[in-house]
């Protein structure tokens, strides 16, 4: 039976501010799940603490609203315990790139097959608009008494250097693009980052929907000229495969680097980088424990088990008091 959008959407009261970009992310994610037709019993959403985190309540899948910044750590444990789960982790930019930055980096080293969507709004939304780690130096969003004194980080490059094998950016109000990007991220075998430019109308009065959409820039016919453009439509091919030589890979990385720094008049969205064929963590475990995928930790002691299942006595003769054989 094909999934309908209504199957994955709950009827709980949604308390995001009107016009919040999170609505676009929620809708795109739900559409992506619907269109992919995944068994929703297998889907688990993990979120952190922040406005973004509430998304797990509005979506009809298994979910857990974890601690601030710890989403990836929690989700990785769950996925490794049961690799059959379709894991989608959701974080805020404060959550994922600030307090959870360590987990963000180290998740890249493992390349566990899961998707991480970051609601990048430039502010700590839920705590009333302080500058988040992505806010640029010198910017002054609404609730800052002084311009931001820190540099903003570049999530694309951070992810690239950490080893993410799928790195994309999308825009909360381009739901078609975001939905397609999420679908590709979920389909990607390995760790996928989708950094989503997310207007926060309440606290970020700089990177607003109107700004992203270029309402302040009109062409001759009076139409807004959006700042956001699709790099893949403009010919950027994100694929990096094992067949490419070092030079080709270097060139691609340099290009990704350059693209990731574009900001202001031109803001690229799309898939920046996708590495094919890098073993996932699950592959690496399977290479050591061949039964891992069939019999992962979560399945070894099924509900209802009443007796210990390993015979450790056989592990070593040194474990039992026994007659010597000097």
């Amino acid at each position: 039976m094909a999934l309908k959008l209504s199957d994955v959407r709950t009827d709980l009261f949604n308390d995001w501010c009107p016009g919040c970009g999170d609505f676009g992310i929620e809708a795109s994610l739900q559409m992506a799940l619907t269109e992919l037709g995944i068994d929703i019993n297998r889907v688990v959403l993990f979120s952190g603490i922040g406005c973004h985190g509430k998304i797990v309540h509005w979506t009809n899948t298994f979910g857990i609203h974890t601690l601030h910044g710890r989403t990836l750590a929690f989700a990785q444990g769950a996925k490794l315990a049961n690799p059959e789960l379709e894991v989608v982790a959701l974080g805020g930019d404060g959550d994922g790139y600030g307090i959870g930055a360590g987990h963000f980096v180290h998740a890249g080293r493992r390349n566990i097959d899961m998707t991480y969507i970051v609601h990048n709004n430039g502010v700590y939304g839920l705590t009333k608009g302080q500058a988040s780690p992505t806010q640029r130096l010198g910017e002054q969003t609404k609730s800052l008494p002084q311009p931001n004194i820190n540099n903003g980080i570049n999530p694309i490059i951070l992810a690239l250097s950490a080893g993410y094998t799928f790195i994309a950016r999308s825009y909360a109000f381009n739901t078609r693009h975001l939905k397609e990007t999420i679908k590709k991220a979920i389909a990607h075998k390995g760790l996928a980052l989708v950094d989503v430019l997310q207007p926060c109308p309440t606290y970020n009065d700089i990177e607003t929907k109107a700004w992203y959409d270029g309402e302040d820039r009109r062409d001759a016919s009076g139409r807004a000229v959006p700042r956001v453009y699709d790099v893949n439509m403009k010919g950027h091919d994100p694929l990096v495969s094992k067949e490419m030589d070092e030079d080709q890979v270097d060139k691609k990385i340099q290009h990704v680097f350059r693209l990731s720094k574009e900001w202001g008049d031109q803001i690229p969205i799309g898939i920046f980088y996708q590495e094919i064929g890098t073993p996932t963590f699950e592959d690496r475990i399977s290479a050591r424990i061949p039964s891992y995928l069939q019999n992962p930790p979560a399945k070894q002691i099924p509900p209802g088990t009443t007796k210990s299942t390993v015979e450790l006595e056989k592990l070593s003769s040194e474990l039992t008091v026994q007659a010597n054989n000097v």
Binding site: K54, F62, P297
Partner: protein, 595 residues
């Protein structure tokens, strides 16, 4: 010899610089003794360095069951002058020091201690360009002095080096033999022990025993970040991962370790992690998360002396207060403190069953002394554990579903809600670290503080806390040793019990009226029962390894039992029975003086 039975007991100590292989030599002699039917307990006097400094290895062995490190030193083998200087004063009369006169100058030695001079380095140089085999020579010498069959040592050497070139084992065996012959020429065995070569006893640390017990109990996800003295657990798990199908997750920090462990448990695995105090401090927020989301989890703290980085290779029982006060606000937790490796083994399955039955975090407190720093021989271990996954269900009871969502946090008569794991059809739910209602839905946002929702918050909080009442009933009361109605009662917990129990024997021989109450289940406490039991106690003396008598304070807080006499040790070393004995004798004197 010590006042203890010289025909049944040995204490010995090897001392050297780190990098001299003293740990493996110590383990070798431990093996020799445990394979000769002896009960053995050891302690590793480690330092936090890789080379140099001073390290030692203490062994206590007996034909009878023993618990602690024994009395004094019967045999000292100092490979360096510092090792002699540090330890010679502890030598028992009738004992011996086995030494190489080139490395060690004997001074101020009790004339009743025998000096056995062996050219350890010279002998070692016969078999290698560098004198690295000198500790093997020393072990051979020791075997002659304690009268144990040298073949047991040869076999242990063969086992140790079996995987290397044959010459390595052969040369070591020859070196050991030379040492053995050299001492044999100088003296008859100083011990007259009936070794039983037909019995071989397994020896293990509490860390190792815990790893075994956990895996036997179904633990298949183990996470860690390296930290002494908890590291042996991850080493064991990693080296058995393949054979036993354990997923080992080496997190980037203890925060990730704890969260990943809870994640794995949420997904349905029996999951555990371990660390020491500093790492545990980083885990605290997440332990609250486990409690709030009612996700079972087992976490081990192998205590080292602190605060802060403290003494990484030294021991303490100073983390109890942290365990009682983990993270913010009230939530249920269980704290278990096994006293020795054997109990550590059996604590693991209990911890998992308690965690799953009550959907709470269970903390196991070990310490350096028994966890990483000391082996003990154990009796035959029984691996046939009962596994109880509690209310983990695969189909929803009708009352707990509304057609698509499962009432995961339902309020029930026993305050424990049915649980499901992701992937289970018709049992979908959202868990939440914010306060939530029975469905897991948010109470912290638009509903927080509304008068209709205040009772719900109260009930959810109470439901979690009231689990403690049920858990209490499963907590073991203290084990009592010695006569009831004794004048003096020692109150102790965890690994400190070992020295206390051994001191008790000696005190009884001296006619002291003393008994002991050993606690291994720490929290929640059956306060009424504990109060009742302790009402039979004599003058209570609290023995523990921390500055502020943390357990005594817990007893006061929970059971209203007040203790005014303490033996508290916090220099990083474990308690030795003679220290307890001395304190109790002094206490008796005071009591008599008053009376």
């Amino acid at each position: 010899m010590s006042e203890k039975d010289s025909d049944a007991e040995i204490t010995l100590r090897l001392g050297a610089a780190a990098g001299d292989g003293i740990q493996s030599a110590g383990e070798m002699i431990m093996k020799v003794l445990s394979r000769s039917g002896m009960h053995v307990t050891t302690y590793n006097g480690n330092q936090s360095l890789i080379r140099g400094g001073h390290v030692w290895f203490h062994v206590h062995a007996s034909t009878k069951k023993i618990y602690s490190l024994g009395y004094g030193i019967d045999f000292l083998i100092p490979l360096t002058q510092l090792s002699y200087d540090q330890h010679f004063e502890k030598l028992n009369q009738g004992g011996a020091v086995i030494y190489d006169p080139v490395a060690v100058k004997i001074h101020d030695l009790d004339p009743k201690v025998m000096q056995i001079s062996v050219p350890l380095a010279d002998i070692a140089l016969k078999y290698d360009k560098r004198p690295i085999m000198k500790n093997t020579v020393a072990l051979g010498s020791l075997c002659a002095a304690i009268g144990v069959d040298i073949n047991v040592l040869s076999k242990a050497i063969q086992d140790q080096f079996g995987r290397k070139e044959p010459a390595v084992a052969e040369n070591n065996i020859k070196a050991a033999m030379d040492g053995y012959e050299m001492v044999k020429k100088q003296t008859r065995p100083l011990k007259n022990i009936q070794y039983n070569y037909s019995v071989r006893r397994p020896a293990m640390t509490a860390d190792y025993a815990l790893a075994l017990g956990a895996v036997a109990a179904g633990c298949r996800f183990y996470a860690a970040y390296p930290m002494s003295p908890a590291s042996p657990i991850v080493h064991w798990m990693a080296s058995h991962a393949k054979k036993l199908g354990i997923t080992v997750f080496l997190g980037e920090d203890e925060i990730s370790v704890m969260n990943a462990t809870i994640g794995a448990s949420y997904a349905g695995a029996r999951a555990m992690c371990a660390t020491s105090g500093g790492g545990f401090a980083l885990m605290q927020e997440a332990i609250g998360e486990a409690a709030m989301t009612e996700t079972p989890v087992v976490v081990v703290d192998v205590m080292r002396a602190g605060p802060s980085t403290g003494l990484p290779t030294k021991t303490s029982q100073g983390d109890l207060n942290m365990m009682l006060g983990i993270s913010q606000d009230d939530f249920p937790r269980v704290i278990l403190a096994p006293r020795n490796p054997e109990e550590s083994f059996y604590t693991a399955p209990r911890a998992f069953n308690l965690a799953e039955r009550y959907q709470v975090p269970v903390i196991i407190l070990l310490d350096f002394a028994i966890g990483d720093g000391g082996y003990s021989t154990v009796d035959n271990l029984n691996f046939a554990f009962e596994i109880d996954r509690g209310k983990l269900l695969s189909t929803p009871p009708p009352a707990y579903t509304n057609g698509y969502w499962f009432k995961r946090f339902a309020i029930t008569d026993d305050n424990i809600s049915p649980r499901s794991i992701p992937g289970t059809p018709d049992m979908m739910f959202v868990a939440k670290t914010d306060e939530h209602d029975e469905w897991g839905h948010d109470l912290s946002d638009v509903l927080a503080g509304l008068k209709e929702y205040l009772p719900i918050r109260r009930r959810m909080h109470e439901k979690r806390m009231k689990k403690l009442e049920e858990i209490k009933k499963e907590m073991k009361l203290p084990e009592i040793y010695g006569p009831s109605g004794a004048d003096i009662s020692i109150i102790t917990w965890g690994s400190s019990s070992n020295a206390v129990r051994e001191a008790l024997h000696e005190l009884h021989k001296k006619g002291v009226s003393v008994n002991s109450f050993e606690f291994s289940d720490i929290y929640p406490m059956q306060e009424d029962e504990v109060r009742k039991i302790l009402s039979t106690a004599g003058i209570m003396v609290d023995v523990e390894v921390n500055y502020s008598a943390q357990f005594a304070k817990l007893l006061k807080r929970e059971a209203g039992v007040e203790i005014n006499n303490f033996f508290l040790k916090y220099d990083g070393e474990p308690i030795y029975p003679e220290e307890v004995e001395k304190h109790i004798l002094a206490t008796r004197k005071e009591v008599h003086a008053i009376a």
